[in-house]
Each structure stands twice: as structure tokens, then as C-alpha cells.
Symmetry: C2
């Protein structure tokens, strides 16, 4: 299907918006009137620019408060409409969005409104303009697609049809299945927006919190399926008002937007395939099947020489062994159980997003079919990474995530070792450390802090690329402000990698904030007491947990006293799922350089969380830095 | 009255929060449990620190979900409570906040709940602890102060009383006047929070959008009056959950908080004075009477040599004359009508908040009694500014606004010229420019961009200091994100200075944003065509208004064609008040250095706005910089 985006979704001037939409591959745009009014480009110049950029102009919008008015106002409104139709001819756009009247003085009279809409259509026809009438969720009298369709049917003019907007319909909880009964040729336009589920005034919700399909809580696949079943064949067009996108880089936002439509089309295509006769008449982009990742093949940490030494001490104390060295790069492979850490002694400030002396720069994801995921990545506009490499090196595809982390698509060795390990040889004798026998079993999850304006983008990116599901967002209080956190995992979380994405709820303030930019690697184990004992015996300082925390734990849980004393002594924290979903034990290292720490976790009885209850404590202790 | 603040209002560690509260002069604090749990300080150490800082600990909070539970849970809850009471003894705090049960399993049985609360009070008594029971607005069964009082009365124990929280009561639209009927000795604690009027889920509203009294939409004066009338004599304590304050400098926030209580007490004292027997039994801080400012005595612009030249050109073209020079500083006085601009050829980057080559660094406010306002300023924690000055200079008191702007309190000359003009003498002959005869009459308003985390503070500061009223906030779309704008003026706006405060709705993103940090001076006139004609004739480039704007104006208004053509030719924009409140004509200069521009406005028929409808156009044209 053709893909379009409203200029209001993107930051910048009209010209910058058009260029961004074109560059990432949109087919068309909706021109938002205020963008045109503020532009020095005349309508013909905009038309010409769009032509040069290969963009259609699919919609001019919005025209407000036309129908349901008295006769004096009607005459004014017709004059206003004619001026806009003349402009649309210059602009080369044949469809105008007319929103249902939202003024307090609108007259509640279907006969009047329908007659006035018919007059509008008659006025539009000589200009070659089609009127797409849309029910705003907060329209004074017309606020449902059902009523807007009643009026359009009653007005009965070929130049008058409907515009459907997923937000206006789903935000009200309306049943969209009735859309199937509307003739497809009366559906002039389709605007798509998702939104997080919120209980708030619908106008404010709409104007500030919309997001791209797949980033919110609406079922846009089912919604769009109804629209296609009705026979709609126009563009899929995004209209998203979002405070963050308004201030973000327009090309990044446009790529995020296009990715969301690709995922939507793929989902639609798959649903159609399962149903006899269910394949829609339109052509839908189809991605290669997702390949459930088996877990992390490795996590790569880049660190300055000094911080790398601290990372080595941590890994040693947790039982990791330095088992190999990269054949041509300053990269060590540390291994324990199924956990592999690549320690890259290249200063991460050379090229990574975060200005820190240690950073998670790459994730290796174990895949049965990395080629297929690579092909998925291309269709998802994921930037491919090309690394300088020796001829002899194992070719690994990699893409850049929105926060700059490299995601390597790693083939799993069948029967033998993973192919990329061939790039590593037995290490030189010096600085090799043998592993211990702690019960660390693998990597439980990785925690990545996201740039403020790429949180929703990152969530969609990882979930679409790897077929992970995004959980609900949780806001956690750090000493320097709220941090929003969202976890991604397979539907059966234990069978694949877990990624926790964090972001500051408000943008960066004027004060340096150590909670920002913090990343971590959490290791799984099946006996956290043993791991902590061994780590302490090996001289590893653990992040000190306040005694006040343990007093509170004693007050609110019935953990046996000897266990509580062990936990107090070993700085282990505790969480449990109040709905009976098991328990969680975990401890942390201090921040190694202000930006990176390790965590060891033990999940009990199917606990699936991340110890969010304890995160404010962890952030506060790391902040006070008493441990450093 | 004693003044207290909950630690959850402030950013930082518990120790930082206590230090901030003490430094600005609070008498006490509420300790938020999570702050204590995450602190390395043990309760006795916190007590000792508070003593050193001169702070009482007035409340420990919150204790959740105690009452309305089954017997097994009750036993757990009593055990949990006893642990907290023991902690409170160490902490030296005698009152605990117990919130009404908000869990889904809470049992709706007043008899049971009252009996359990009585048991809690009996448990607390030996520890010397009082239980202050509070109805959460989202409590499962107890969500009104009325019902919480029913339970407390029924439980009937001297260690059990009420905590009242203005947010929980006013957010539900409850009538607070019934509070007068509660015996004052049963009111154990009072928590105050304001909030903007929002239609959203009350839990989210409460957790993210509370603000200090006077910064939102609740009538906290009336509310608190009811509480005092009941005989409450405990502290006025602030409990504000706010995303921005959580991330802001804690001492700044604490000063803002204390200022809000001072203004509240002053309002209470004034209301009591008007009523026979209305003076409350408690002692309230009373500010000197506000002195309605007559207008701007001057606006001072600091600029680099190069930009100062551009400012001079603008002022000349608008009819200003260079009339005097400061006797000892590189400051010129430019004058036209009642408008005075001080042009200070000192690079504003030396000391001002904004990194720009031109900035509004000071406002002079004309006052009949500047001493009285200065005394008000002291009680409002306004930082006094001491400038190096010659002995001979006129003494002027000045304070620093939250954005760093200096506010000078200027006496008005009685019959003669304003006293501070004596510091200026006739200028040297070179570079003196005579004024023109344009009908500029004065300074209409000043637009000041605020740092992201000081917007509410700035609004309260200016309104409290000068007795201005703050209007509603409006969000305006710039090419780089939403800008929130709020105007301050006297209740009769034409009789005093107008100040427009702007702020980016989200924090600063990674991209340079020319819309941020922009300030402007708007000059009033009574014939904008004449001013614009003269300015153009004098060679002043005006900010070009897109032809698309004028086309739209023609479509939506019935301005006569000759007037429209004048406006198009002279780059004049138009707004009107749809409710019949007059019209507005205005034009802009280009940005002089990327951060400062001038505006000329003509208000017609009592228009009281600021042309907000045109602001997005202005921001877009300034952004494209085609004018520069």
C-alpha cells in the first residue's frame, strides 16, 4: 500500500519535513495547514518541491467547523472553503479533511448538517476536490464514525466521503467492526495513530500523546483490517501529535514512522493469509518470518584501559574466565556458563552515544537464521553497520539500534561451536584468568539507557527486529527525576534475551545526572548466596544496601531470619510478585565508572519482573557513590 | 505558622533534601519512607542531622493499606506497623500518615475498618505515636474526608486523628467547608498541594502534576481557611509530586515552595482581617501590601558592540531618540513616548543565563512605594542584587528573578522626573540620534524565555512580587517543539506592566533550538500602519510574513481589501478575540542575534491577548532565518 505521513508529525519547517519524509521513503504527505501558512514557499513551489522529492500530496488538512451552522456563518464558511479549494488546485492535492464541528454553537440537526455538507461537496466538485469528513472524538454533535457516515450517506454526493482516524474511533472505545459495512469507495482517507492507554481528557490525549502504530495500546491491526475489508485502497497515512516527536530530529522520526507502517502491513498480511478469502485486495509489505532469538551470544563492553581493569576484576570475582582473544583486535572473550562478555579495550568515547569510560557497545543475538533477520532489518530501515574486518573474519551482519548500540546477528553453531568464535584464539599467557565455580548460568538481561527522544522508537525497533514483546512502562523515582522503564522479551521470556530500556521522563535538566546514561549487564544464577559469597571472598566490593532497606524488608515480608541476615550481610535485595508469580533476589556492583554496573539475579518460581521496587534504592546508592 | 515540606518534593538524596529545606528556612519536614529506605543514614543519624539543621521531623509517611482487611492480613499489618513505630521513635517523629486502603481486596465494612484503626491507635500509643488517617482520592472505599472522619470518630481513640490533603479533597470536587465542623484537635496534620485543572485519571494527576499553592487552579486560600477555622494549629506542610521538581535543583525548589506558603499565609491573614472574629488563632506571616506597578520604568538590553549597533538601528527606525548616557557605565538611554530602553554595551554572555549576544538583563518597574515592594521581596525569599555603584548614584533596590533577570524597583518622580534619571547625563555628541515622530506610546509587554525547570517558579515569583495575576497557559507549536506561554498582568492589564513567560514543553533535546532562549520587547502604538511605514522608510527590515499567511487571513476574516494590502505590504499580522474582545495588529523585527527581537503592537477595542494565534508563524519565520 502507499504510505503517507502528515507534516504535523515531524519537526522543522515545511521544507525540512518534506525532505525527511522523502528521504526515508514515504510515498506521500498530508499537508497540515499551519505548516503551509508559516512557509515562505507558495503552494505551487511546494507542489514543485514535492514533485522533485517524489512525494504525492495526498491530503490538505484540516478544515474546521463547517457544518451545523446558521445561514450567515454558512456563507462565510463557503467563502473560506472556496479560498482553500483554489489553494488546493495550486498545491495539486485533491482531498481535503473536514473535521466535524467542535464549537459550542454547533446546531444539533442532522438534516441541516447533511444539506450543508452537500453544499460543500457541490462547491468542491468544480475544483476537482473531494471532501473527506471526519468525526472528531470531541465533536460537539458528531463524534462517532457512525454518525459521520449517516451524514455523508444522507448528503449523498460523489465528492463527499469519509476520513477515518484510528485515534478518534479507538480512544472512545467505539467498536470499529461496523466500518466493514461502509462501501469502500466512500472511504476517502485513512489516518492512523496509536496512543498509550490513558484516562484523560481526549483532546489533550490526542494533541500530546499520540504515537506510531505499535508504540501504544490500540489494536491497529484489527482496526485497519476492518478498513481494508470495507474496500479502502488509499494510502495508510500517519497523523501523530506528540510532544517528543515535535522536538526530535525529523528524519529519525520519519524512519520510525515508516517502520511502524511496515510492521503494521506485515501483521495485516499474516492475518489475511490465515483466513480463506482473507487476503485483502491491496498489496501489503510482507517481512520475512521473525526468528525467535535464543539468547545473547555475547554482550560487548568497550572501556578505557583503566575501567577495563575494573571490569576484569568484576568478571573474575563472579567466576568468569578469560578464555580467548580476538585474532586482530584488542578484544578479550570472557566466559562463564552460557554468558559471554567481549571486553574491548577501545575507549568508548570514540564513537558511542554516551560520554563514558565504559559502555555496552554491542549485543550479539543468537539466531537460527541470521540471514532472515538481516533481511527483516533491511525492510525495517535498520541502519546496517559495516565494520572494517579482515578477510578471514567470520561475516556477521549487524545493525545500529536507535541508541547507537550495535546488534550483531549471530548464527548458532549446529553441534559445534558458534562460527564467530573462530575469530578468537587461545589468549596470550599474560593476564589470563581462570574461571571460578560460581553458579552463574548466563546473561539474564541487559539494561540500556535511551536518549530522551528515541524511547518509543527503540522499543519498536527491538521488538520488530527480534520479535520481542514490549511490556508496560513503569516510572521509577531516582534522586534526579523519574526514569521510565520498559522491558522487552519473547512471549516466553525464559527462552530468549531480555532487554530493559530506560529513559528520563523529562528531558535533561541543567544538572549533571548520574542516573542518565547508566547501563548494566545482569547475570542469571541459580544460587545467589553462593555467587555473592564467592564474589566477596574474591575481594569484589558489592553495592552496599542500606540497613534501613533490610529493616523495611523485615517489616513487610516473612523471610526467615537466617535468610534475612545472609541478605543483609551480602547486600542482596528482594522482590516478589504479589500475584503469586515467584520471587527475585539480586545484588549489584558499584558503578564501575559512573555509567556501567553489573547485577546478579536469581529468579524463583517463575518470577518475570526486574526488581523494579528496588530500583530507586539502587539508583540512590549509586548516586551517593559511597560505594565507589 | 510552622512550615514543613515533604522530602518527596525535592530532588537528591535524603541528606541533600534536608539541607535544602533547612537552608531556605523551613521549620520541619515530612520524611517520605522511600527516601529513608534508600538512605545510608540510620534513623538516629537522620534525627541528629535534622537537629543540626534546625529541622523538626513532623511526619513519617506513608503507611498503606492497613484497614479493611481480613484477620490474617491484619496480624501482618500490625507487625509491619510496630516495626515502623519503633523506627519512628529512633527518628524522633510522633505522627504517622496512614492512607486509606487502595487495594482491590479492601473490605467495604465501616465497623471492621474503624475497629482496625482503633487497634492501630492502641498499638501506636505506647510508642508515643499518633496516627493521622487520610482518605486517598482513589481509596477503594474511603476516598472522601467525610468518610475518613466517620471512621476516626467511630474508632474513638486519642491517638487517632485525620490528615487532610488539599489535593485529595479538591481534585474530587468535594466541598471543603464541612472541614469546619471537625474538632481541631482531631486534625493531626495538613498537607497542601495545588494542581493545574486537568481532566485525567486522578492517580496520574496526583503523582505527576501537583504543584505548590498558587501555581495551579485550586482555591487553597479558601481550603486552608476552613482548616484553620476548625482549629488546626499544626504545620502547613507541602506534599507535591511533580516530574519537573523531582529533577530540579532542590534548593531552588525549596525556595519556591516556601514562597508559595508565604503568599498563602498572607492571603489568609488578609481574609481574616476583613471578617469580624475572622482572624485565626494561629500566627500568619503578613506581607506588606502589594503596590500595583505603574508600568515599565525601563527595559535594559545588554548586547555585544556589534549587536548593540543593530539594536540602535531598530530603535532609531521606530522613532526612539538617544537622549542620555549613564554617568559612569557604558549604558545609553533611548526614549520614545513612555518607553525607555537602556542599551548596555556589556557582553551579556558575561553573567546572564542565556548564551547570546543580546539579552534583556533587567526590568525597571515603576512603583509608588519601592521600599514596600522591597520589603515584600525579602519575605518572598527573592535574592537581593547588590551592584557595584558610585556613591553618587541613586540607590535602587533590585532582586533576581528565577531566570536571572534583574528586577529594579523604581520610584516614580512626583511632579518631576524619575529619580534614577539623575544617574544619566546628556550624551556626548557623537552617536546621538534624534527621535522620529512615530506614534509609539510605550512598552506593551516583555517576553522572557524561562529555563525548563523554573517556569512555575517564575510565574509565582513575578505575580507575588508585583501583585500581577497569571493567565492560563497556552501551548504553541514551534518548528522545534511546543512552547508553553503564560502572561502576567494587573487585573486591569492596561494599568501596569505585562510580562509573557515562555518555556519549552519538554526539556532541551539534542538539537540546537533557536526558539529557545528567545526574548522580546513589544512596543505599544496607536497607529501601527504609521509606525511600520516610518520604520520601512528608515530602512528597517521587518520580519517577512509569508504570503500564504495573508491568503489565509483573507479567507477567514472580512478585513477590507485595502487594509489587507497594507498589512501584506508592511508584514503586519492580525488577531482578534472571537468573543468580541477587540483586535490586535502587530509586526516583528528579524531576530537581531538569534535571541532577541522587537515587536510593535496595536490593541484595538480592548483586546487583551498577545496574538498567540500568530506565534507559530513568527517562530517559523524566525527559525528559517530568511530575514537575517
Amino acid at each position: 500500500m502507499r504510505r503517507s505521513i502528515a507534516t504535523v508529525c515531524l519537526s522543522g519547517t515545511l521544507e525540512e519535513k518534506l525532505r525527511a519524509a522523502s528521504r526515508v521513503g514515504f510515498d506521500g504527505v498530508e499537508i497540515f495547514e499551519n505548516d503551509l501558512i508559516a512557509s515562505p514557499l507558495r503552494p505551487r513551489e511546494i507542489r514543485s518541491l514535492a514533485d522533485d522529492l517524489g512525494l504525492d500530496i495526498d491530503l490538505y488538512q484540516p478544515f474546521r467547523d463547517f457544518e451545523g451552522v446558521d445561514d450567515a456563518r454558512l456563507a462565510e464558511n463557503v467563502r473560506r472553503a472556496e479560498a482553500k479549494f483554489a489553494l488546493m488546485v495550486e498545491l495539486g492535492v485533491d482531498t481535503v479533511l473536514v473535521c466535524s464541528n467542535a464549537t459550542a454553537t454547533a446546531i444539533d440537526d442532522d438534516g441541516r448538517a447533511a444539506a450543508q455538507l452537500r453544499l460543500l461537496a457541490e462547491t468542491a466538485e468544480p475544483y476537482g476536490v473531494r471532501v473527506a469528513y471526519e468525526a472528531l472524538a470531541w465533536g460537539t454533535h458528531v463524534s462517532t464514525y457512525g454518525r459521520s457516515w449517516d451524514l455523508v450517506r444522507r448528503a449523498d454526493h460523489p465528492s463527499l466521503g469519509l476520513c477515518l482516524d484510528s485515534f478518534h474511533i479507538l480512544s472512545r472505545g467505539d467498536d470499529p467492526s461496523g466500518i466493514r459495512d461502509i462501501p469502500g469507495d466512500r472511504l476517502f482517507f485513512l489516518q492512523l495513530a496509536d496512543a498509550p492507554r490513558m484516562s484523560m481528557d481526549v483532546l489533550q490525549w490526542s494533541r500530546h500523546h499520540r504515537c506510531f502504530p505499535g508504540q501504544g495500546g490500540f489494536d491497529l491491526v484489527a482496526f485497519t483490517e476492518h478498513v481494508l475489508a470495507a474496500g479502502y485502497s488509499g494510502p495508510l497515512s500517519l497523523e501523530v501529535f506528540n510532544d517528543v516527536f515535535r522536538a526530535a530530529d525529523p528524519e529519525r522520526t520519519a524512519a520510525d514512522a515508516l517502520r511502524s507502517l511496515t510492521v503494521l502491513e506485515d501483521s495485516l498480511a499474516r492475518r489475511g493469509e490465515g483466513v480463506p478469502g482473507g487476503r485483502p485486495a491491496v498489496t501489503l509489505t510482507r517481512l520475512p518470518d521473525p526468528v525467535p532469538p535464543r539468547g545473547f551470544g555475547f554482550v560487548e563492553v568497550a572501556a578505557t584501559q583503566e575501567t577495563a581493569g575494573r571490569v576484569r576484576s568484576v568478571l573474575s570475582a563472579l567466576g568468569f574466565a578469560h578464555v580467548r582473544d580476538h585474532r586482530s583486535k584488542p578484544v578479550q572473550l570472557w566466559e562463564h556458563g552460557r554468558a559471554r562478555i567481549l571486553l574491548n579495550a577501545t575507549d568508548p568515547r570514540l564513537g558511542h552515544t554516551w560520554d563514558s569510560a565504559a559502555a555496552i557497545t554491542a549485543l550479539g543475538v543468537d539466531l537460527d537464521d541470521p540471514e532472515q533477520v538481516g533481511n527483516r532489518a533491511e525492510l525495517l530501515c535498520a541502519p546496517a553497520l559495516t565494520r572494517r574486518r579482515d578477510r578471514a573474519e567470520t561475516p556477521l551482519r549487524a545493525v545500529a539500534a536507535p541508541d547507537g548500540t550495535a546488534v550483531f546477528l549471530c548464527p548458532v553453531g549446529e553441534g559445534g561451536e558458534d562460527p564467530w568464535l573462530a575469530d578468537f584464539s587461545a589468549p596470550a599467557v599474560e593476564d589470563v584468568r581462570p574461571g571460578g565455580d560460581t553458579p552463574v548460568t548466563g546473561i539474564d538481561h541487559v539494561g540500556l539507557h535511551q536518549p530522551f527522544d528515541h524511547f518509543d522508537e527503540a522499543s519498536l525497533f527491538y521488538s520488530a527486529l527480534l520479535g520481542l514483546a514490549a511490556g508496560e512502562s513503569t516510572d521509577l523515582a531516582s534522586p534526579d527525576g523519574l526514569v521510565r522503564s520498559r522491558a522487552l522479551s519473547l512471549p516466553s521470556p525464559d527462552e530468549g534475551p531480555r532487554i530493559a530500556l530506560n529513559v528520563s521522563v523529562i528531558g535533561d535538566g541543567p544538572h549533571p545526572d548520574p542516573a542518565r546514561g547508566v547501563q548494566h549487564i545482569a547475570l542469571a544464577c541459580d544460587d545467589i548466596i553462593a555467587v555473592a559469597e564467592a564474589a566477596v571472598a574474591a575481594g569484589l566490593p558489592l553495592m552496599p544496601v542500606p540497613d534501613n532497606y533490610h529493616d523495611d524488608l523485615a517489616a513487610r515480608t516473612d523471610l526467615p531470619p537466617h535468610r534475612r541476615e545472609q541478605m543483609r550481610r551480602l547486600d542482596i535485595l528482594h522482590d516478589h510478585d504479589p500475584d503469586g508469580g515467584g520471587g527475585f533476589l539480586h545484588f549489584f556492583t558499584p558503578l564501575l565508572d559512573g555509567h556501567l554496573f553489573f547485577e546478579v539475579v536469581q529468579r524463583v518460581d517463575g518470577y518475570q519482573g526486574y526488581g523494579a521496587r528496588n530500583t530507586p534504592v539502587r539508583m540512590t546508592v549509586h548516586r551517593t557513590g559511597r560505594a565507589a
